[in-house]
Each structure stands twice: as structure tokens, then as C-alpha cells.
Amino acid sequence: MARLKSANTVSATATLKLDTTAALGYVNEALFEATQEVVGFDTVATAKELCPVLPKPTKEREPGELRGSIDASVKRNAKGVRASITTKTGYGGFVELGTTKTPAEPYLWPAFEQNIGKLVPAIQENIANLTGKGN
């Protein structure tokens, strides 16, 4: 009796583990795809719309230089997915946060704020598509 009970328990645990692993795989994949969609595309597009552009070239800068340098990176890591939006001009942070001479003109955070609400629906949609329940 005791052996039988033990075998059943092991068998049940193994089956559950397999299902959980598969489900986690779907969730991770859906999370990655949704983050790429919402942060990698939508948020970057909004940030580019909001980003201030110089009216005319100066000695150091070209109009649209900052806007053109806005980019996102979405990576998988041990904890899930990590996304970041960056600029490469070297002064993007001063524009976002302001300096003693120029007021802040935030364009990254408002873009994030406008788009982050789309993330959960996008994850749900991706899970449905991956598990074949989206049709």
C-alpha cells in the first residue's frame, strides 16, 4: 500500500511539473513579445513624437539628432524580461531632466506612461495566440 501511494504521488508531481514548465514557457514568450511590441515599438514611437527638436543646426548639434538616437532594447534574463529606452547623443538626460539653464522637456517618461497600460492586454493576446486560443 505504502509503495503504491508513493508511486502515485511521484507520478502526479511529475505530470504537474511538465504542465507548469510548458505554461511558464508560454508566459515568458508572451511577455517578451508583448514587451517588444509595447516598449520596443510603441513607446519608442511616442518618445520620438514627444522629443524636442532644434529649430536649426548649431555648431555642436543637428536638428533631430536626439530624436533619431532614441532606441530600445528588450532582453531576456533570469528574472524574466528587461527593457530599456536610451538615447545616444550624450545629452538626452539633460533634456529629460533639465539643467540650471534649460527647463526639463520630458519625452521618455511620458512616452512610457502613455504606453505601459497596453502591456497587460498585449501579454494576454500573445498568450492566447501562442496557446492557439486566440482564433
Binding site: 545629452y91 538626460g93 539633460f94 531632466l97 533639465g98 539643467t99 540650471t100 539653464k101 527647463p103 526639463a104 520630458p106 517618461w109 511620458p110 506612461e113
Partner: protein, 140 residues
Amino acid sequence: MVDVAVLIREHLLNQAEVTALLGTNLNGSIYCAADLPEHFDPKLGPAIQLVRSGGGSHDEITVLVNARVQVRVWADVEQYQLASNVYGAINDTLHGVTMVSLADGVILSALEATGPQEMSDPDTGWAAVNSFYAVMACPN
């Protein structure tokens, strides 16, 4: 409608831990504006700048304001430690507070949304520490 930056200023002016670290610039060295006062001098001590930067009104309870506020500490050139100390004092007295009743309204809650970011001002070289707070407030 309540001005959340004004409420935070009132709250910080009541906190001895914060005001003890600030300098002798005008108006208690705490400013609710996108730029610093014309004659501000960090040699007289550090200062705090509060700027509203986003947020929105509540959908149903229209008197509630959910605001994001940039809290920036300014200190003189190379005075990063001093700026950091002021940032810490602000964090100790603001992060997590609830139901703070003030002359111009009530801070229902304040939470630090983005932690400290240090920077040097590109024009003056002054040290600064930036942080952002998510604040919910309502009128009295």
C-alpha cells in the same frame, strides 16, 4: 485643484531633518518652479527644486490628483555627498507618508517612483540628485 509641488514644499518645510541641511538662499531654499531663482547661489547651501512632470486626475473622484513630481537637490560643485544627504533626508520624510494635512491640501500618499540619479549640471558643474515621486493629493 491642488498643486502637488506646493504641498510637498509645505511638507518639507515642516521637516527639521530636511531644513537643517538646506542653505540660506531665499524662500527656505525650496522652490516650486522649472528654473531656479535668479540669484540662487549654491555656495550658500543646497536647495530643493520641485517640478510637476506628469500624472493625471482620477477618473471618478475628480478632486483627486495623481501627480508625478520631480524632486531635485542642487548643491555646489563636487558637493555630491551633501546633495545625497539632502536626498536621503527627503526620502526619509516623504517616501511612504499618508494623510498629511497641510494648509493648501492633503497629501494622501507619496511614494518614490524613481530612485536617486546623480548628475552634474553641464553649464555650472553643480551637483544634482534627481528623484521622482508619485503623489496622490486632494484639496482640504
